[in-house]
Amino acid sequence: VPAAPPAPLGCDDPESVAAAEVAVNYINGHSHHGYKFALNGIKDIRVVPQGPNNDIMFLELDLLETTCHILSPTPLENCTVRSFAEHAVEGDCDVKMQKVDGTLSVLASKCHSHADSSEDILKVCPECPLLARLNNTEVLEVVSAALNDYNSKTTDSYLRLLEIGRAKIQYHPAHTVVTEFAVGATNCSAKEAKADVGACQLLPEDQSNFGFCTAVMVKLPSQDLQVDCQLYGHQVPAPHIPLLSRVSYPTGQDTS
């Protein structure tokens, strides 16, 4: 009598969780923009045996954005999942994997990320500021002012904008714009940049030094700008992540 087929894998089985963790590390390792994502839940898993010790696995994963930018060297386990009130961003991923002799590998992945709906946030937290579009004029003005302010005061390298990560605008009790953006060190000092900013280029890959800035601009009742930038120091870049070169948009991204 042929052996009974193995019981279907449960979504919380250790084998499923191990596969999901490999998939999440792959997704973060191949993402070029935005923030690292953490596993929130395994929606479904399907195993298609290919032969002895050879399975194809299809996973449906539910991820949540963390506060770590994708270029941050912080290990994922130390990255805080952005809270619901901070206007969480969810990632839905379909991942095809192979398990051969116990070794897991990702064959393909397709993800779609989207911010939680404003209605959901305001229902629970009417005062919470909401995510703004990254090409919002106010957002672009604040990022530009913040980077200029930082570069005018730093004695280190002149920093260039890589991408805006997220931005929120609130109008009560004060008109405030909060932005987060990724920056890269250039081959100029801030002083040299004053003379000829056009000559300031991002450092080449083997010397690259990225960082992350947060800026808070209070517009009313009186204008006040706070900027904080942290450079990560040179990281040995993963071979498949090209330099960041464009602003990303929060209204959902598809990555494959």
Binding site: V17, A38, D44, D120
Partner: protein, 38 residues
């Protein structure tokens, strides 16, 4: 003579009696939510 029992009756008879306190296993998927659901 062979008579066909109505399904409900058959199902009633065929239902395996479950031990008292039997808790069906949780469905295999979806799995647990680690942070919050949005």
């Amino acid at each position: 003579s062979v008579t066909k029992r109505p399904v409900a009756e058959a199902a009633q008879h065929d239902k395996v009696p479950r031990p008292v306190g039997f808790v069906p296993p949780p469905p295999p998927c979806p799995g647990k939510i680690r942070h919050f659901d949005i």
